[in-house]
């Protein structure tokens, strides 16, 4: 195993450990003092995200030739094309996030239910992120 690969694995392991500390700390704080079931949501969402990241990191370390563009890009193992796809996709979502947030703000000002507006905003941005990544990955 090369020094570079060992260093990358060490950084990935440290990132996962740090992510766990942040999620658990934030989740427990929000369970104690946060509104509703926000703490449980942070814990569940955080653990799922870290689990998916760990699986991608494991696959990238073991069989990099069998991994997807998204796995390599998200775990920092991507080449220049992977990085370009990631950058274009993030830019697309970033540009659309501005008007979407504006629309959500208007909806909230018109007294639309906060939970529904925020749920629609979150899912719209997530779907746009995945769709734009797939689009640019197939085009590039």
């Amino acid at each position: 195993m090369s020094t570079t690969e060992l260093s990358r694995r060490t950084r990935l392991a440290l990132g996962i450990a740090l992510g766990l500390v942040v999620v658990v700390t934030l989740g427990l704080v929000l369970r104690r003092w946060g509104p509703g079931n926000m703490g449980n949501g942070v814990l569940q969402g955080g653990f799922v995200t870290i689990l998916l990241f760990a699986v991608a990191a494991w696959r990238t370390s073991r069989r990099p030739d069998r991994t997807l563009t998204a796995e390599r890009a998200l775990t920092g193992a991507g080449d220049e094309r992977d990085d370009a796809v990631m950058t274009r996709s993030a830019a697309f979502v970033g540009v659309l996030a501005l008007p979407l947030t504006g629309l959500a703000t208007v909806a909230l000002a018109l007294e639309a239910p906060t939970e529904i507006v925020m749920t629609i905003l979150l899912w719209t941005e997530l779907i746009l992120a995945v769709a734009s990544f797939v689009f640019y990955s197939r085009r590039a």
Partner: protein, 64 residues
């Protein structure tokens, strides 16, 4: 931009994965370059040229 990467790779008997490994990029990147969907950076284009012992201009051609 057109290129002769696929033909040169075939001449040298390399798979996309093998060429990708030699250049430090993924098989998908080689595939995208060969199909003209992705234009490589200058360092990668130079690395490809070195790999096949050609110049960049001999491999990559700007569409007219």
């Amino acid at each position: 931009m057109r290129n002769d990467v696929r033909a040169l790779r075939a001449q040298h008997g390399l798979s996309q994965a093998a060429l990708g490994t030699a250049l430090g990029v993924s098989r998908q990147t080689i595939n995208s370059i060969e199909n003209g969907r992705y234009d490589p950076s200058l360092p990668l284009a130079i690395a490809i040229a070195h790999q096949f012992q050609r110049t960049v201009e001999e491999i990559f051609h700007v569409d007219d």
